[in-house]
Protein backbone atom coordinates (compact mmCIF):
# COMPACT_ATOMS: atom_id res chain seq x y z
CA UNK A 1 0.00 0.00 0.00
CA UNK A 2 1.20 3.48 -0.84
CA UNK A 3 1.60 5.02 2.60
CA UNK A 4 3.27 8.22 1.47
CA UNK A 5 0.28 10.30 2.46
CA UNK A 6 -1.04 10.92 5.88
CA UNK A 7 -4.72 11.67 5.83
CA UNK A 8 -4.45 15.50 5.94
CA UNK A 9 -2.17 15.41 2.91
CA UNK A 10 -4.67 13.34 0.93
CA UNK A 11 -7.51 15.61 1.96
CA UNK A 12 -5.55 18.70 0.91
CA UNK A 13 -4.62 17.21 -2.46
CA UNK A 14 -8.16 16.04 -3.05
CA UNK A 15 -9.46 19.49 -2.21
CA UNK A 16 -6.95 21.24 -4.47
CA UNK A 17 -8.00 19.12 -7.45
CA UNK A 18 -11.06 21.40 -7.43
CA UNK A 19 -8.87 24.49 -7.92
CA UNK A 20 -6.39 26.65 -5.98
CA UNK A 21 -7.33 27.55 -2.40
CA UNK A 22 -5.81 29.36 0.55
CA UNK A 23 -5.72 27.91 4.06
CA UNK A 24 -9.18 28.90 5.26
CA UNK A 25 -10.85 27.87 1.99
CA UNK A 26 -9.05 24.52 2.20
CA UNK A 27 -10.28 23.88 5.73
CA UNK A 28 -13.86 24.75 4.79
CA UNK A 29 -13.75 22.63 1.62
CA UNK A 30 -12.28 19.64 3.47
CA UNK A 31 -15.01 19.95 6.10
CA UNK A 32 -17.56 19.89 3.33
CA UNK A 33 -16.21 16.99 1.25
CA UNK A 34 -14.88 14.77 4.04
CA UNK A 35 -16.45 16.01 7.26
CA UNK A 36 -12.96 16.40 8.73
CA UNK A 37 -12.04 19.47 10.80
CA UNK A 38 -8.35 20.10 10.28
CA UNK A 39 -6.61 22.42 12.70
CA UNK A 40 -4.44 25.27 11.40
CA UNK A 41 -1.21 23.66 12.57
CA UNK A 42 -2.14 20.32 11.03
CA UNK A 43 -3.10 21.97 7.75
CA UNK A 44 0.08 24.01 7.42
CA UNK A 45 2.30 21.13 8.53
CA UNK A 46 0.87 19.01 5.74
CA UNK A 47 0.98 21.88 3.23
CA UNK A 48 4.67 22.49 4.00
CA UNK A 49 5.52 18.82 3.45
CA UNK A 50 3.51 18.69 0.23
CA UNK A 51 5.20 21.83 -1.06
CA UNK A 52 8.64 20.44 -0.16
CA UNK A 53 7.85 17.30 -2.16
CA UNK A 54 6.64 19.34 -5.14
CA UNK A 55 3.06 18.05 -4.91
CA UNK A 56 1.56 21.51 -4.36
CA UNK A 57 2.85 24.96 -5.20
CA UNK A 58 2.22 28.36 -3.71
CA UNK A 59 0.67 31.11 -5.78
CA UNK A 60 1.28 34.83 -5.16
CA UNK A 61 -0.11 35.90 -1.79
CA UNK A 62 -3.32 37.90 -1.64
CA UNK A 63 -2.84 40.08 1.41
CA UNK A 64 -1.80 37.54 4.09
CA UNK A 65 -3.66 34.66 2.45
CA UNK A 66 -1.64 32.59 0.00
CA UNK A 67 -3.44 30.23 -2.36
CA UNK A 68 -1.97 26.84 -3.21
CA UNK A 69 -2.53 24.71 -6.25
CA UNK A 70 -1.87 21.07 -6.96
CA UNK A 71 1.00 20.26 -9.33
CA UNK A 72 0.82 17.60 -12.09
CA UNK A 73 2.97 15.37 -9.84
CA UNK A 74 0.54 15.95 -6.97
CA UNK A 75 -2.45 15.10 -9.16
CA UNK A 76 -0.79 11.90 -10.35
CA UNK A 77 0.20 10.92 -6.80
CA UNK A 78 -3.27 11.47 -5.32
CA UNK A 79 -4.90 9.71 -8.27
CA UNK A 80 -2.71 6.61 -7.73
CA UNK A 81 -3.41 6.68 -4.00
CA UNK A 82 -7.17 7.09 -4.36
CA UNK A 83 -7.39 4.37 -7.01
CA UNK A 84 -5.55 2.06 -4.65
CA UNK A 85 -7.90 2.93 -1.81
CA UNK A 86 -10.83 2.38 -4.15
CA UNK A 87 -9.59 -1.12 -5.06
CA UNK A 88 -9.09 -2.02 -1.41
CA UNK A 89 -12.53 -0.66 -0.52
CA UNK A 90 -14.20 -2.58 -3.36
CA UNK A 91 -12.50 -5.82 -2.34
CA UNK A 92 -13.33 -5.26 1.31
CA UNK A 93 -17.01 -4.51 0.59
CA UNK A 94 -17.29 -7.58 -1.61
CA UNK A 95 -15.93 -9.79 1.15
CA UNK A 96 -18.24 -8.14 3.66
CA UNK A 97 -21.20 -9.09 1.48
CA UNK A 98 -20.07 -12.71 1.47
CA UNK A 99 -19.54 -12.54 5.20
CA UNK A 100 -23.14 -11.53 5.61
Amino acid sequence: MDDRFSEPSVLILASLTGGPKHGYALIKDIEEIAGARLGPGTLYGALARLEQRGLVEALPAQDRRRPYRITPAGAEAVRAYLEHVQRVAAAGLKRLEAYG
Binding site: H22, G23, Y24, I27, R37, G39, P40, G41, T42, L43, Y44, G45, L47, A48, R49, A61, D63, R64, R65, R66
Partner: protein
Protein backbone atom coordinates in the same frame (compact mmCIF):
# COMPACT_ATOMS: atom_id res chain seq x y z
CA UNK B 1 -3.20 32.96 20.21
CA UNK B 2 -0.80 33.94 17.42
CA UNK B 3 2.11 33.95 19.86
CA UNK B 4 2.04 30.15 19.73
CA UNK B 5 3.33 30.42 16.16
CA UNK B 6 6.65 31.49 17.69
CA UNK B 7 7.06 27.88 18.79
CA UNK B 8 7.70 26.90 15.17
CA UNK B 9 11.27 26.81 13.75
CA UNK B 10 12.29 30.30 12.61
CA UNK B 11 12.73 29.38 8.96
CA UNK B 12 9.39 27.63 8.88
CA UNK B 13 7.81 30.71 10.50
CA UNK B 14 9.48 32.96 7.96
CA UNK B 15 7.84 31.03 5.14
CA UNK B 16 4.41 30.15 6.57
CA UNK B 17 4.02 32.24 9.72
CA UNK B 18 2.00 35.12 8.27
CA UNK B 19 -0.37 32.79 6.45
CA UNK B 20 -0.82 30.62 9.52
CA UNK B 21 -1.47 33.67 11.66
CA UNK B 22 -4.13 34.82 9.21
CA UNK B 23 -5.71 31.38 9.21
CA UNK B 24 -5.84 31.34 13.02
CA UNK B 25 -7.62 34.71 12.91
CA UNK B 26 -10.05 33.42 10.29
CA UNK B 27 -10.82 30.30 12.29
CA UNK B 28 -10.98 31.89 15.72
CA UNK B 29 -14.69 32.86 15.65
CA UNK B 30 -15.79 29.29 14.89
CA UNK B 31 -13.23 27.18 16.79
CA UNK B 32 -12.32 26.95 20.44
CA UNK B 33 -9.09 28.61 21.49
CA UNK B 34 -7.98 25.45 23.30
CA UNK B 35 -8.40 23.27 20.21
CA UNK B 36 -6.48 25.74 18.04
CA UNK B 37 -3.73 26.11 20.66
CA UNK B 38 -3.35 22.34 21.00
CA UNK B 39 -3.16 21.95 17.23
CA UNK B 40 -0.55 24.71 16.90
CA UNK B 41 1.65 23.17 19.60
CA UNK B 42 1.36 19.75 17.94
CA UNK B 43 2.22 21.29 14.56
CA UNK B 44 5.23 23.12 16.02
CA UNK B 45 6.60 19.92 17.57
CA UNK B 46 6.21 18.11 14.27
CA UNK B 47 7.89 20.96 12.36
CA UNK B 48 10.89 20.74 14.68
CA UNK B 49 11.06 16.96 14.24
CA UNK B 50 10.88 17.37 10.46
CA UNK B 51 13.67 19.96 10.58
CA UNK B 52 15.91 17.53 12.49
CA UNK B 53 15.15 14.80 9.97
CA UNK B 54 15.96 17.12 7.03
CA UNK B 55 19.24 18.13 8.69
CA UNK B 56 20.30 14.53 9.21
CA UNK B 57 19.48 13.75 5.59
CA UNK B 58 21.52 16.68 4.24
CA UNK B 59 24.41 15.82 6.55
CA UNK B 60 24.54 12.28 5.20
CA UNK B 61 24.38 13.60 1.66
CA UNK B 62 27.40 15.82 2.39
CA UNK B 63 29.38 12.92 3.91
CA UNK B 64 28.54 10.62 0.98
CA UNK B 65 29.67 13.29 -1.47
CA UNK B 66 32.90 13.76 0.47
CA UNK B 67 33.62 10.03 0.24
CA UNK B 68 32.80 10.05 -3.48
CA UNK B 69 35.11 13.01 -4.14
CA UNK B 70 37.88 11.37 -2.12
CA UNK B 71 37.46 8.14 -4.05
CA UNK B 72 37.60 9.92 -7.39
CA UNK B 73 40.74 11.86 -6.45
CA UNK B 74 42.34 8.70 -5.08
CA UNK B 75 41.73 6.84 -8.37
CA UNK B 76 43.33 9.72 -10.30
CA UNK B 77 46.31 9.86 -7.95
CA UNK B 78 46.73 6.09 -8.05
CA UNK B 79 46.83 6.19 -11.84
CA UNK B 80 49.44 8.95 -11.67
CA UNK B 81 51.49 7.00 -9.11
CA UNK B 82 51.50 3.89 -11.29
CA UNK B 83 52.31 5.82 -14.46
CA UNK B 84 55.16 7.86 -12.99
CA UNK B 85 56.68 5.15 -10.77
CA UNK B 86 56.04 1.90 -12.62
CA UNK B 87 54.96 2.37 -16.25
CA UNK B 88 57.20 5.34 -17.10
CA UNK B 89 59.74 5.31 -14.24
CA UNK B 90 62.36 7.98 -14.02
CA UNK B 91 65.65 7.66 -12.17
CA UNK B 92 65.93 11.38 -11.67
CA UNK B 93 63.86 13.36 -9.20
CA UNK B 94 61.92 15.31 -11.84
CA UNK B 95 58.33 14.86 -10.65
CA UNK B 96 57.85 18.39 -9.29
CA UNK B 97 55.17 19.34 -11.81
CA UNK B 98 53.02 16.17 -11.41
CA UNK B 99 53.26 16.50 -7.63
CA UNK B 100 52.27 20.17 -7.80
CA UNK B 101 49.32 19.39 -10.09
CA UNK B 102 48.27 16.55 -7.79
CA UNK B 103 48.24 18.79 -4.73
CA UNK B 104 46.31 21.48 -6.60
CA UNK B 105 43.71 18.88 -7.58
CA UNK B 106 43.46 17.69 -3.97
CA UNK B 107 43.02 21.22 -2.65
CA UNK B 108 40.41 21.99 -5.30
CA UNK B 109 38.57 18.78 -4.38
CA UNK B 110 38.59 19.67 -0.68
CA UNK B 111 37.24 23.13 -1.47
CA UNK B 112 34.56 21.51 -3.64
CA UNK B 113 33.66 19.14 -0.79
CA UNK B 114 32.75 22.08 1.43
CA UNK B 115 30.93 23.86 -1.35
CA UNK B 116 28.80 20.82 -2.19
CA UNK B 117 28.12 20.15 1.48
CA UNK B 118 26.78 23.69 1.82
CA UNK B 119 24.70 23.29 -1.31
CA UNK B 120 23.25 20.08 0.14
CA UNK B 121 22.10 22.14 3.11
CA UNK B 122 24.64 20.80 5.59
CA UNK B 123 25.62 22.99 8.53
CA UNK B 124 29.07 24.41 9.24
CA UNK B 125 30.19 21.52 11.41
CA UNK B 126 29.24 18.97 8.78
CA UNK B 127 30.96 20.97 6.03
CA UNK B 128 34.19 20.89 8.02
CA UNK B 129 33.71 17.23 8.94
CA UNK B 130 33.17 16.38 5.25
CA UNK B 131 36.46 18.14 4.46
CA UNK B 132 38.29 16.24 7.20
CA UNK B 133 36.87 12.94 5.96
CA UNK B 134 37.72 13.69 2.31
CA UNK B 135 41.25 14.90 3.15
CA UNK B 136 42.04 12.01 5.48
CA UNK B 137 40.67 9.45 3.03
CA UNK B 138 42.70 10.89 0.17
CA UNK B 139 45.83 10.87 2.33
CA UNK B 140 45.41 7.34 3.69
CA UNK B 141 44.33 5.79 0.39
CA UNK B 142 47.08 7.49 -1.58
CA UNK B 143 49.73 6.14 0.78
CA UNK B 144 48.10 2.72 0.41
CA UNK B 145 48.52 3.04 -3.37
CA UNK B 146 52.18 3.95 -2.88
CA UNK B 147 52.57 0.91 -0.63
CA UNK B 148 51.13 -1.40 -3.26
CA UNK B 149 53.19 0.12 -6.10
CA UNK B 150 56.41 0.15 -4.07
CA UNK B 151 56.07 -3.42 -2.80
CA UNK B 152 54.69 -5.09 -5.92
CA UNK B 153 57.09 -3.34 -8.31
CA UNK B 154 59.98 -2.95 -5.86
CA UNK B 155 62.58 -3.80 -8.50
CA UNK B 156 61.44 -0.83 -10.63
CA UNK B 157 60.84 1.62 -7.79
CA UNK B 158 64.20 0.78 -6.20
CA UNK B 159 65.93 2.29 -9.25
CA UNK B 160 64.91 5.82 -8.21
CA UNK B 161 67.95 7.83 -7.16
CA UNK B 162 66.18 9.42 -4.18
CA UNK B 163 65.37 5.96 -2.84
CA UNK B 164 68.88 4.67 -3.44
CA UNK B 165 70.33 7.67 -1.56
CA UNK B 166 67.77 7.42 1.23
CA UNK B 167 68.33 3.70 1.67
CA UNK B 168 72.12 4.26 1.83
CA UNK B 169 71.69 6.82 4.63
CA UNK B 170 69.01 4.89 6.52
CA UNK B 171 70.89 1.88 7.73
CA UNK B 172 67.87 -0.30 6.94
CA UNK B 173 68.39 -4.00 6.25
CA UNK B 174 66.71 -3.94 2.87
CA UNK B 175 65.21 -1.54 0.35
CA UNK B 176 61.73 -2.93 1.12
CA UNK B 177 62.20 -2.31 4.84
CA UNK B 178 63.41 1.22 4.16
CA UNK B 179 60.48 2.02 1.82
CA UNK B 180 57.84 0.61 4.16
CA UNK B 181 59.33 2.44 7.13
CA UNK B 182 59.13 5.67 5.12
CA UNK B 183 55.55 4.91 4.13
CA UNK B 184 54.40 4.59 7.75
CA UNK B 185 55.60 8.11 8.53
CA UNK B 186 54.13 9.42 5.28
CA UNK B 187 50.78 7.74 6.03
CA UNK B 188 50.44 9.51 9.37
CA UNK B 189 51.67 12.86 8.05
CA UNK B 190 49.60 12.86 4.86
CA UNK B 191 46.40 11.62 6.54
CA UNK B 192 46.56 14.16 9.35
CA UNK B 193 47.87 16.95 7.11
CA UNK B 194 45.26 16.54 4.41
CA UNK B 195 42.61 16.16 7.11
CA UNK B 196 43.59 19.59 8.47
CA UNK B 197 43.74 21.11 4.99
CA UNK B 198 40.39 19.43 4.29
CA UNK B 199 38.81 21.15 7.29
CA UNK B 200 40.13 24.58 6.28
CA UNK B 201 39.38 24.30 2.56
CA UNK B 202 35.94 22.78 3.09
CA UNK B 203 35.15 25.61 5.47
CA UNK B 204 36.19 28.08 2.74
CA UNK B 205 34.19 26.17 0.11
CA UNK B 206 31.21 26.11 2.45
CA UNK B 207 31.40 29.89 2.77
CA UNK B 208 31.17 30.23 -1.00
CA UNK B 209 28.43 27.63 -1.37
CA UNK B 210 26.37 28.74 1.61
CA UNK B 211 22.73 29.35 0.72
CA UNK B 212 21.03 31.26 3.51
CA UNK B 213 17.56 29.91 2.74
CA UNK B 214 18.69 26.32 2.39
CA UNK B 215 19.23 25.85 6.08
CA UNK B 216 17.55 26.38 9.35
CA UNK B 217 19.02 28.96 11.66
CA UNK B 218 21.48 28.11 14.40
CA UNK B 219 23.71 25.78 12.43
Amino acid sequence: MSWLIRLYPARWRERYGRELEQLVQDLRPSRSAVAIAFDLVKGALRAHAQREFDMQRSDWTAIRRAALIAGTIWLGLSAEILLSNVVFPSRTDDDAIPVLVSYLCIFAALFLTGLLAARAGAGRRTQVLAGVIAGSLIGALTVASFAVADNVWLDIVAQQQTKIDGFARSGAGSMREYINHQLIGTAVGLTVGLGVFGAALAWAGGSVGHQPLAREEGR
